[in-house]
């Protein structure tokens, strides 16, 4: 194959119909006596035809929105992902703040804010007050446990996603290695013209 590298440009010209009649004839004549080039041509033609399987995707229909969008160019600069991140951060902050409050309630043992402790303290026996407080603490602990479980689940999810990402990186690296190896091998066969 390496002896025929001079025909590669011509091969591509023929493959994509960008060739003059005499050049086409010259390529045909060469292929008649060169299995390697003929096979190469057929192989690349099959690749080229196979690529058609990846069909075009839906168009954005910019034209219809073009005059409107022209006015709101700044919108382009605002990434929707940024908005989502901000919303997620706000939500997370809210959850954390509420968690803090509950912990505080548990520690201070103020049961007024807790449901089930709406009766005035004076009308209750000390045992009942103790029970209400205990219930509030338990409730608070339950909540904390549930929240802890959620946090842990989130961490597990994060770790899983990190592992998946790392595996993907390894996969990409292997792919890149393959490409690099290919290029090194290819460079020795096919010298790039300046």
């Amino acid at each position: 194959m390496s002896a025929c590298t001079n025909y590669r440009e011509l091969l591509l010209d023929v493959l994509y119909g960008e060739v003059s009649e005499p050049d086409h004839a010259a390529f045909e004549a060469h292929c008649a006596g060169c299995d390697s080039c003929r096979d190469d041509f057929e192989r690349l033609r099959a690749v080229s035809q196979g690529l058609a399987a990846w069909e075009p995707v839906e168009a954005p229909i910019l034209a219809r929105t073009w005059p409107l969008r022209r006015r709101s160019f700044r919108e382009l600069l605002r990434s929707p992902r940024l908005a989502w991140s901000a919303a997620a951060a706000a939500l997370l902050l809210g959850v954390l703040l509420r968690a803090d409050l509950r912990v505080q309630n548990g520690v201070v043992r103020v049961s007024l804010a807790m449901p089930g402790a709406t009766a005035t303290p004076s009308s209750l026996e000390p045992e009942q007050v103790a029970a209400v407080i205990q219930a509030a603490i338990n409730q608070s602990e339950d909540r904390q446990r549930r929240e802890l479980a959620l946090v842990l689940a989130g961490m597990v999810e994060q770790i899983e996603s990190d592992v998946a990402q790392q595996l993907y990186t390894v996969h990409s690296d292997l792919d890149r290695l393959e490409n690099t190896t290919y290029r090194v091998v290819n460079a020795s066969q096919w010298s790039l013209k300046p």
Binding site: R8, V47, S48, G50, L51, V57, W66, D175, W190, K193
Partner: protein, 204 residues
């Protein structure tokens, strides 16, 4: 009435005709979007980049060199935007495209399309499988080869035009094209083999 050429529309737009540029957008948006989406992967970002390319073209229309073709110029703008987008976001070399079967963060999973009930049962690969294999193969190409393959195979540009867009000699474009096709032939072969391996054994 004869359809005005792109370059005539550019002249009209520069002269202040707003409809002329809109006609250019309508004429090129589909092709450009398809190119960007195949190159970048993510549909939303592709849409943004496509709009950005048209905005950039619009703002620089008065600088357009009328010896060049508008399409070539537009592709050059889009390609540069894609390049800076790659650099800015440090995107991986390969992506999953959300337009098809896979919406996860990892690369395209061919196995997921394998169980598609619409796939033919002749033992060969179905249309969606084949598309996923091609997509994965093209996306795993080195960037410099991928862009040449996309411009040639999917945008149907001539080697001369691609050379102009990339600012390199035609011979360099051809060497990249050859390398890209050659590499793809292996990747496609491997992809098809893997898809068949991963296919659930429906038959006894």
């Amino acid at each position: 009435m004869a359809r005005p050429t792109d370059e005539e529309l550019v002249r009209q737009a520069v002269a202040g005709d707003a409809n002329a540029f809109e006609a250019l957008v309508r004429r090129w948006e589909k092709g450009l979007f398809n190119f960007i989406q195949r190159y970048v992967g993510d549909a939303e970002r592709s849409r943004e980049l496509c709009q950005e390319a048209f905005f950039k073209a619009y703002r620089n229309l008065h600088r357009f060199d009328h010896r060049a073709r508008f399409s070539t110029w537009l592709y050059t703008i889009a390609l540069n935007l894609c390049h800076s987008s790659f650099r800015r976001k440090k995107l991986p070399k390969t992506y999953s495209l959300d337009e098809a079967v896979d919406n996860s963060e990892s690369g395209p999973r061919i196995s997921e399309t394998v169980s598609d009930p619409n796939v033919d049962t002749e033992g060969d690969l179905g249309k969606s499988e084949e598309a996923a294999i091609v997509r994965a193969a093209v996306h795993s190409l080195p960037q410099e080869l991928r862009e040449v393959i996309l411009l040639k195979e999917y945008q149907g540009l001539r080697f001369r035009e691609i050379a102009e867009i990339l600012g390199v000699p035609v011979s360099t474009v051809k060497s990249k094209m050859y390398a890209g096709l050659d590499l793809l032939s292996r990747k496609l072969h491997h992809g098809r083999w893997r898809a068949r391996e991963e296919r659930p054994q429906a038959k006894e």
